[in-house]
């Protein structure tokens, strides 16, 4: 057999030619007798020039690490990071294509100011002056609307700028729309935010219950971690409690369909059966739990204490048959769930995300899931965990930990607490009393005030939006976003990377750097803090959001604005180098003279010990693929924590305690098991609007699609939003696949194509629209009713009517 070896055709580039010549010369010198140098075949292969470096993925809250390949100042390839605990080398299709998100042709590269008939390119200097003017003229009516996509230093700088600098608490993030109810759920139950477990539970659980959750599409890497275990021969029971069939359903043994808000009844039904059958964990409950029910006169997260007997009595109406009536889930399935929770041999992990959080009783539902885990003792062991997931890469890191919410301060503190304000003033070296005690406006209120004319009480005049797209994601857009267009004295500033549904109404657009165009730190769903370095330059005049905040702060400082000075009269963002020399980080050309991220992070670290969310020094994160807090130094090493509140895992649990809820709201090291009644959704289908509309995401697109829709592979696979409708409902309305349908709610209408038996399959009476498409805004239809505790809206239950559009 002969083999035709493909002859090498060396196409030498100059550098390689020089290299090869030098090698030839060296070889000739070393061995003059040989007379020839070994030829270098296949020289200059492109892979060899690629520099690889780690970064967390830009998209969801899973927090996968990627290896980013950079060549000639551009990202050219992405690989799953094999050494990352989160994803172990695997990614999803968004992650593999994340590099292309930087290179959409319409990247914003210049500051743009709205003028009559269009936008004018202006200089950064003029832009900074404009913002400083707006703030100086009325600092109390200024607001910042941020994001769970802010890096930790970006959110921290904005937080300090607003609450410490402007004495203004009107700063709230888009995460209010996403996981505010998870926060209130954790606080009401454990007295401190964020999950006790972590992703390792997915490797240990015997039963995985997904509450209104579709991880096969939304957190695919985590979902694969479980179903790949099964394909290796392990036995895991997957249960999908949902309002529609999804890709997740297909991998589950049980699909338990329910009506919207049925989850409240189901959780109560499980608790009722656990007690009735004597299958609850008496020892765990007696040692570690109290009981609470909501205080109807004065609703708050402390509620009112009740006894076990009162708790039992309140659950009595929730018999399996009654629950079946309320939820639509069969009584047998409720008994099956109760039997699973009643089996102490099993390890049960619950996952939930938007289905439970975007819920007008979201706080209640979060506490009920924690409640059944505590009641049954499925808590505190690997695999036994109630774990809420987040949708944004740093919803936990930047929003929940840095506290960029209208009522919060860094490290689990709140503005209403005098002691907490004192801590912040001390760390920020501010004069006493600088921080206001009254919480600012939460998201829905902030935008409502921005859309209300000034003379009618609309006391927000300017909003600066960073790293998010409220023009697409706010509920009821015709009330909460669109009216601002007609109010001439309102001013919308948007820092963005691409034109979006938000920049559409912006008065000033600032071009931003994104992802590996800047240094950054994210915090993912499992308490993991992840760091990366800048790898490529941003295009044109695009600049870091963190620099933008600091530059505006310094512009105000230059003008003598008192709030931008600390108690010694120094700039609040002053940074000194190793030689104690001032680095002018407010000038863009000097911003990367030092690592601003590191300076801000080390300052922020001081805040984290108070609630035992200790972070390690910046350099520790450089060396790892993230660490889960509390990260505590023991034996000269920084060690992360897998499982909080459990002895043997959490260094803050006293020995001999077993499980210790050391931030208990009742100060007795106990968690609170809540009773909350079933309450109907804020809007239910009726004669005029007979369908329940659910909105959500799809695998290919992340958030509002402003990044993923510019990636050809993703955009081609999922080019447009659509309406999912049951085949029987479609037949009744004479709707066929691909037909244009009009969807109307009491708030707006939308015309789009129907997709029957497609990606998801809703039951009769339910329809679904994904919200990623900026030309087909699902949120003109949604309701702006909010949870009373978390102020988070419900995007999953709006009544609509559907009709075929006649051609």
């Amino acid at each position: 057999m002969t083999t035709n070896e493909h002859p090498a055709k060396p196409k030498f580039e100059r550098r390689q030619f020089i290299k090869a010549s030098a090698m030839a010369a060296a070889t000739a010198v070393a061995n003059p007798s040989s007379g020839f140098a070994l030829p270098v075949l296949n020289p200059g292969e492109p892979v060899l020039d690629v520099q690889w470096n780690k970064a967390p993925c830009r998209f969801c809250g899973t927090g996968c690490h990627v290896q980013v390949g950079v060549k000639d100042g551009k990202v050219v390839a992405v690989a799953g990071d094999k050494n990352a605990d989160v994803n172990k080398g695997l990614l999803c299709v968004k992650g593999y294509h994340v590099g292309a998100a930087l290179y959409g042709k319409d990247r914003l590269t210049k500051p743009l100011l709205r003028q009559k008939g269009g936008y004018k390119e202006i200089s950064w200097d003029a832009a900074l002056n404009l913002i400083a003017d707006r703030i100086e003229s009325d600092p109390k009516r200024f607001a910042i609307y941020g994001s769970g996509q802010w890096t930790i230093p970006e959110g921290y700088a904005a937080q300090k700028f607003m609450k410490g600098g402007l004495s203004n608490n009107h700063i709230d993030p888009n995460a209010r729309l996403c996981m505010a109810s998870a926060v209130t759920g954790f606080l009401a139950t454990y007295g401190v935010d964020e999950p006790a477990g972590c992703y390792d539970d997915l490797d240990a659980c015997d039963v995985l219950i997904m509450w209104g959750n579709n991880p096969a599409e939304m957190h695919p890497v985590l979902f694969s971690r479980v179903i790949d275990r099964r394909s290796r021969g392990e036995k895991i029971t997957l249960i999908d409690i949902s309002t529609r069939r999804t890709r997740t359903t297909e991998a589950c043994q049980h699909y338990l369909e329910m009506k919207g808000h049925g989850d409240l009844a189901i959780a109560n039904g499980i608790a009722h059966l656990l007690i009735k059958n004597g299958k609850y964990d008496k020892k765990f409950v007696e040692s570690y739990c109290n009981f609470k029910s909501p205080n109807d006169e004065k609703p708050n997260l402390h509620g009112k204490p009740i006894s076990f007997d009162e708790y039992k009595k309140q659950l009595e109406p929730y018999t399996p048959e009654k629950v079946e009536e309320l939820s639509g889930m069969s009584a047998d399935d409720i008994r099956m769930l109760a039997d699973l929770f009643g089996n102490p041999e099993l390890k049960i992990t619950s996952l939930w995300c938007m289905g439970v959080n975007q819920h007008t009783r979201g706080t209640a539902m979060n506490t009920l899931i924690h409640g059944i885990h505590l009641l049954s003792g499925h808590f505190g062991r690997p695999g036994d965990s109630p774990t809420s997931l987040t949708g944004q890469p740093s919803a936990c890191g930047t929003v929940r930990e840095v506290g960029t919410l209208a009522h919060a301060l860094p490290g689990g503190r709140v503005v209403a607490n005098a002691e907490h304000r004192k801590h912040a003033e001390k760390f920020w070296k501010l004069p006493d009393g600088r921080i206001l005690a009254t919480p600012g406006y939460h998201t829905v209120k902030m935008w409502e005030k921005f859309c209300t004319p000034t003379d009618q009480g609309g006391d927000i005049g300017t909003i600066w939006v960073q790293v998010t797209n409220p023009g697409q994601t706010l509920p009821n857009l015709n009330k909460l976003f669109n009216p601002s267009e007609k109010l001439d004295d309102k001013f919308l500033i948007v820092s963005e990377v691409y034109p979006t549904a938000t920049t559409r109404l912006a008065n000033l657009i600032l071009p931003s750097a994104m992802w590996v165009e800047k240094n950054g730190i994210f915090g993912n769903s499992e308490r993991r803090t992840q760091q990366w370095f800048k790898m490529v330059d941003p295009p044109g005049e695009a600049r870091d959001d963190c620099w933008q905040t600091i530059a505006v702060a310094h512009r105000l400082f230059e003008r003598g604005f008192a709030g931008m000075k600390d108690r010694d009269g120094r700039f609040i963002f002053e940074v000194k180098d190793k030689n104690n020399q001032l680095v002018p980080i407010w000038k863009w050309e000097n911003y990367y003279d030092t690592n601003v991220d590191q300076h801000l992070f080390e300052e922020y670290r001081q805040f984290t010990k108070y609630k035992h969310k200790d972070l390690a020094p910046y350099t520790e994160y450089v060396a790892t693929r993230g660490l889960r807090w509390p990260v505590v130094e023991r034996g000269g090493k920084w060690r992360e924590t897998h499982l909080r509140f459990s002895e043997g895992f959490d260094p803050y649990v006293e020995s001999g305690k077993g499980v210790q809820f050391y931030h208990s709201t009742t100060k007795d090291d106990r968690a609170q098991i809540w009773f909350h009644p079933w309450i109907a959704p804020a809007e239910v289908p009726d004669k005029d609007y007979p369908f329940m509309l659910c909105t959500g995401r799809v695998l290919e697109h992340w958030h509002t699609g402003s990044m993923t829709r510019r990636i050809p592979q993703l955009n081609r696979a999922m080019p447009t939003a659509y309406l999912e409708i049951h085949a029987d409902d479609a037949a009744k309305l004479d709707i066929r696949n691909g037909d244009k349908v009009k969807v109307e709610s009491r708030r707006g209408e939308l015309t789009l194509q129907a997709w029957i038996n497609g990606r998801g399959r809703p039951p009769r009476g339910t329809v679904f629209i994904p919200f990623f498409d900026e030309t087909l805004l699902a949120n003109v239809l949604t309701l702006d009713a909010i949870d009373p505790f978390s102020k988070q809206p419900d995007y999953k239950k709006s009544a609509v009517k559907v009709s075929k559009v006649k051609r």
């Binding site: 493909h6 055709k9 390839a77 094999k82 593999y96 292309a100 695919p220 890709r247 080019p719």
Partner: protein, 272 residues
Amino acid sequence: MNPETGQKFAYLICFAVISVTVAGYFIGLQSPMNPIGRGEDQGATRYRVAGKSQHQTKNSNHQSADAIAATRYADMYAALLSRSQTRRSHLKDLKSSVDSLAEITITDSQKQFALAMRQQNRAFNGAPPTIPHPVEQLSTQTCMVCHGNGVKTETFRVSKMSHQFLANCTQCHVEAVPQNFTATEFGENTFVGLPAPTGGARAFPNAPPTIPHSTWMRVDCMSCHGPTGLHGIRTAHPWRQNCQQCHAPSSKLDQVQLDAIPQFLPPPKIVK
């Protein structure tokens, strides 16, 4: 005209009408609603994807906005196949063309062609390929039927899965042209992906080349370099099973964390 002749004429007219009706009914059944006057473009429909125009063969015609032709039941199967751009196979072509012992010669142009083919559905070297045919939206079980082993006939090639079994196929692989949507470009993108290497480095002529790509998620070399792979990148010696015995992977590309400078014990101390 006498009444008898009139009756005969009436019979004749009735007969003619009934014949035409019956004939027309069957003709109509056979090809319903065929638009007239398509000329030579008949049977072909065109759609645009990614700036490239592609042809699809269909017996029915989907071009006219006002007359959408129905597909004949007899042609339904072929129409479904053509939608997935799968070539219609004749029975004789269905025979497997996999011959593991065939002698392999590869020209440089064949190699370039194979690499270009691979690039068509990958954003960069190492990206998960997009799927060139429609997929079932909810279930990924069917993927393994074909991609578990790979298939190659005269007209048809199904690649073998190169990585270990992972249960959620559509997590990484999405449809290149979705069945249910007309794909349009939303915003252009200037991302230039890392091209595939054309070969590994050799220490000397005829030395086994090193592996120029990562081996992570590429467990089975034979999926690309074996008999069901593209010809231009096939191995000339498929009977040798232990590829990495001769072809060295790159610790850097494989993200091996042990890249340290080799250390040595100190040399013997010479005392004078």
